[in-house]
Symmetry: C3
Subunit: 293 residues, 3 copies
């Protein structure tokens, strides 16, 4: 619990972690779906991180060792990126590279669901998804029909808490025997859960993030970038990444004429976001500084 | 012919179908080329529909059953999406999911041409392409050199009429024994042909749609979204989708400084398009309310 | 050396070649990574060229014969585009289609590095990359960690000069026994090297090109488009393409609010760039009109 911050400090902590991302420019290895590869790379670059989409076998493993963080997103689970993911994650774990699992549309779709379950057993640093995806992957529901969530973020609260306090280490033990180090449930109000963070909510954002493709998928990459500068506190990385992403989106929405003009403005605001804007705009609340028993 | 609308009603009918798309938010299953996956998803989201790019085998079939419409675009016909397409289309037909075939660059390129012919034999709800593609697929020419059309839309008029009145049911009979229910030929003036619609032309649009990639491919997805709310009249879906797409493009072009700024403006105009704008701006003419014999 | 232009003429020559691209609208066959396919196509269309991403086997070879130029980019070297590339390049060479090799992130990543070496042995018309990539491919270093360059363009000067004056014809002889006809090293100041051009530097551009994905990859496609209108002088194509690309970027940066708004503005400026703007803005210097011995 030594890393837990009191409520009023999350704005400052987010700003500090943003500055750390920009100072270090972490190289984020992305194995992600072909629909959002471009926007994901652009979001990482606008943030001040670096991106590389290395998604073929024999390259993905070695690259996960030298990258600063890894994202695996199951959106278009073709055979080659599946093999790449199953090669990259063990390499990342072995090398101490933090990694994020984004189980896009898991539930009834068999290929990605099997893949995401195999990956979950390797203990992601952060599990990020919408409520339907998180619930389906954690075994608490059958999932939504497609990429949109039919469940609310609060519906996933209990499953998320259980995942970060699990006593079942699985085939390869996670840190301290947990299934995952942190869970990030995206929605109108984002829910972040981790042992050292407690249950935190981020109320920033805009409905326009749901009117473009990649709004959530790119957040998975942003979370990965933040884990690189917060190696001992995945929950803080998840909170700060979510706040930065949704604050930039919120500021962009104020100027946007629709979902089209929102996208370039979002990248502009992400690139220009100042620590002062973060502190002033963040709407982060802490339900409890520790995960409820 | 009971669904045929008199000329002056197409603007209102288009506006009504647009409202229906926004009310229902149909989930459009897209198996499309990797170049335009992102813009296709963004166009569907801006329109008010939902999009999912499920293009791997064993997922594509079940998903086509629960989706509200299916698009198959042959632009980058890799092995996995080919198998996915050949799994999705029979499932869509079996479940009554309307589906659109967009035969990108068929003609001399052997992989996509064979695929598109196999798919055509499964009787698309709507066949959408430029004139060269439509002519090549319907056996009336050898096709263009690449993705651009070398034929004019009027060149495809006879072949399109034949396709919607065909008496050859193929291996799996289409509705009423037709090869396809409707044909949408894209060009400076779009040509729409269907039994209940007749021969209709939409004169909206902008040359900028040809200066960006995906201008036509995304229209295929928009047509699919409209078929979901016009299940018994594929021709009306094709007319309304074409009008909405090209009107939004026309309005965007009035503000655009070039092909780059046109793209976000196009999404903005698609999202904000009002029924009044549709009625006021539509330039839809009916050559005949029935397909000529 | 008969094609070498004096220093003060490069602005005019660039403008002339830009006009030639627009007049001919060359069809550029792209086998490129999935991250940048969309932006690459849009850059080519904004430039006035045509684009087709034909990256499956049995299609790529025949298409390379009819295309006006070919680009092979190794960014996401999946099995199907690898086979397509190895089919397209011999066809291009046989048909006289100029082709550009963009060895994205070669060095320590084994799949793309082996592919790029196989392709290099087929004598690209132009080799384009950042300094780390060019050095790694030409055997002069182990390459960078990812897609960003850790070496400066001047570090690649000697290796580039050696590549265009090589006496080793490899398994398939290049033009006049050279390894490549021209080398384009991208960076803050671009370095272009070719026998008939000498050593040329283009100092246009903007740091924003490094804050978006595809800034360099799209340049590879632009170079390919220019080789189509400069068949006997690959060096001139590389200089003119680099100047047009970086001038458009520089003009866009003057209006951009960040990396997001930069992208549509870049396409707008590329589409609207006048010969006068080229001549007025180009900062092209010639170190020597012939390659140093």
């Amino acid at each position: 619990m030594e890393n837990a911050a009191p409520t009023h400090d999350w704005g400052h902590r987010t700003a500090e972690l943003l500055e750390a991302v920009r100072a270090r420019a972490p190289l984020v290895h992305c194995i992600t779906n072909t629909v959002v590869q471009n926007v994901t790379a652009n979001v990482l670059l606008a943030l001040g991180a670096s991106a590389a989409m290395v998604d073929v076998a024999t390259e993905a493993g070695p690259f996960a060792r030298v990258a600063d963080a890894l994202l695996v997103n199951t959106g278009t689970p073709h055979a080659e990126p599946r093999v790449a993911a199953l090669e990259a994650v063990p390499a990342a774990r072995d090398a101490g590279t933090p990694w994020v699992l984004d189980p896009v549309a898991v539930g009834s779709l068999p290929v990605r669901t099997a893949l995401a379950r195999d990956l979950l057993a390797m203990h992601p640093t952060v599990l990020r998804g919408n409520a339907s995806e998180v619930l389906a992957l954690l075994g608490a529901s059958a999932g939504g029909r497609g990429v949109d969530s039919t469940a609310g973020t609060e519906d996933a609260r209990a499953a998320a808490i259980a995942a970060v306090t699990s006593s079942d280490p699985g085939p390869v033990p996670g840190q301290d025997g947990r299934l995952v180090d942190a869970v990030a449930v995206s929605g109108p109000v984002d829910l972040l859960v981790a042992p050292a963070t407690g249950v935190v909510r981020v109320a920033n954002g805009t409905e326009l993030l749901t009117r473009i493709t990649g709004g959530g998928c790119a957040l998975g990459a942003v979370v990965a970038a933040f884990t690189a500068v917060s190696p001992d506190d995945a929950g803080a990385a998840a909170v700060a990444a979510t706040a930065v992403h949704t604050i930039a989106a919120e500021l962009a929405a104020q100027e946007a004429g629709g979902p089209g003009s929102f996208q370039p403005l979002f990248l502009d605001r992400l690139a220009s976001l100042t620590p002062e804007q973060v502190v002033r705009t963040a709407r982060i609340t802490v339900e409890s500084a520790a995960v409820p028993a």
